[in-house]
Symmetry: C2
């Protein structure tokens, strides 16, 4: 299953309405220097992202290569709907069962979970949504990137950079990942130290939770997806 | 010139063909929680990014608000052409002379320079392109984010995260920037330490330079833009 030196790994990123753009744009950029990439959706019409503008898919589900080296799911506010979109879940399940790596960033792991692809695997998600993994009986691990077998899942939003470089090192080589990191000048210097609840002040945590207002809606979506994935209609 | 508490700061991001998506997508995401954002281009047709897919602008140059709190330019392989696109440069110069903050990420600073907006200012760019600033007699500073008066410029590609949070703290408040950082889970943990030439191995630096193959083309573009900005056609 190793790629030959002359074949670029094929990466399929499934997008959907109200996905978080940088969940996939950062790892896409890290990977695309060395890989063939597909931005996948049902049609080639522009898909609105949750930050307020749209991106254009490159490949429909119907035209997606049968065998992917990487299947990747981003998260975002639209992940609630994605978890209940049977056409999307069927496609994810189909490509996921043959992909070399089944991966996600942020709440993309909840969509993988809804497709039944994280049963018995450990996974990461955004710090605010580990209850969603737990509700699907998936073992959440509070790390930046979690690798369990061929499942590679990243934490929230910007974890996609660390995820993308980690995945590139596994897919091709550590040297290629180092080169990608240098081209991207990924030499972070955050102006504050509030990137995770363990180091943020209580008032910052409260403000962040207030911005992420879809908690009840997401809990309901997880409940429905969890039930559906375990009780498929024959 | 401070925004009233009831008015969201207005951010205008100028895109162009073959721009680097994450140069602006990362700061856009950091800012858009608290700001009104516009993705600006000549038309509303999809604009191809240098990583292989397109984004859809939200606002044409003609419909852009006259007074922006932030004017922002991303970089990318298309910055060579942008530096010679008179319609783009005229628009950037017009909005830039009235904007509260004139900003860029990566080689976006070369486009600002071509529009004459960095004369007498210190600025950052991608580590590989400081010669471009020097060719335009702009003082390059090798820092992640450079603030000089109302000019705020970020280093290469992923510096846009640090840039965006730094700018948000200036635009609104440090507390809002901390909240944005927490929502984005910006708690970086790069798998390698090769994000800048000062810490990368020589062979990694050579590989990165080989990937950034437009050096001669860019040097020529800078020469032409530099000449044009100092010798405008009356």
């Amino acid at each position: 299953m190793q790629p030959t030196p002359h074949r670029k790994p094929v990466v399929g990123i499934v997008i959907y309405p109200q996905a978080t753009l940088i969940d996939f744009a950062n790892p896409h950029t890290a990977l695309s220097m060395f890989c063939e990439t597909h931005l996948l959706w049902k049609t080639l019409d522009p898909v609105p992202m949750d930050i307020g503008f749209s991106v254009v898919p490159t490949t429909t589900f119907a035209d997606c290569p049968e065998n992917l080296d990487v299947l990747m799911l981003p998260g975002g506010f639209g992940s609630n709907a994605a978890m209940q979109d049977q056409e999307l879940l069927d496609f994810v399940k189909d490509r996921g069962q043959r992909a070399r790596y089944v991966t996600s960033v942020c709440t993309g792991s909840l969509v993988l979970g809804a497709a039944g692809l994280l049963d018995v695997y450990k996974a990461a998600t955004h710090w605010g949504f580990y209850d969603g993994l737990a509700a699907m009986n998936i073992s959440g691990v509070h790390e930046r990137v979690v690798i369990d077998g061929n499942r590679v899942t990243g934490g929230g939003v910007t974890a996609g950079l660390d995820f993308g470089l980690t995945l590139l090192a596994k897919l091709l080589s550590e040297e290629d990942a180092r080169t990608s990191q240098l081209v991207l000048e990924y030499d972070p210097l955050p102006p504050f130290q509030d990137g995770h609840p363990r180091c943020a002040a209580p008032e910052t945590l409260a403000a962040a939770k207030a911005l992420m207002t879809d908690f009840p809606e997401r809990a309901a979506a997880i409940g429905r997806a969890s039930f559906a994935s375990r009780n498929p209609v024959a």
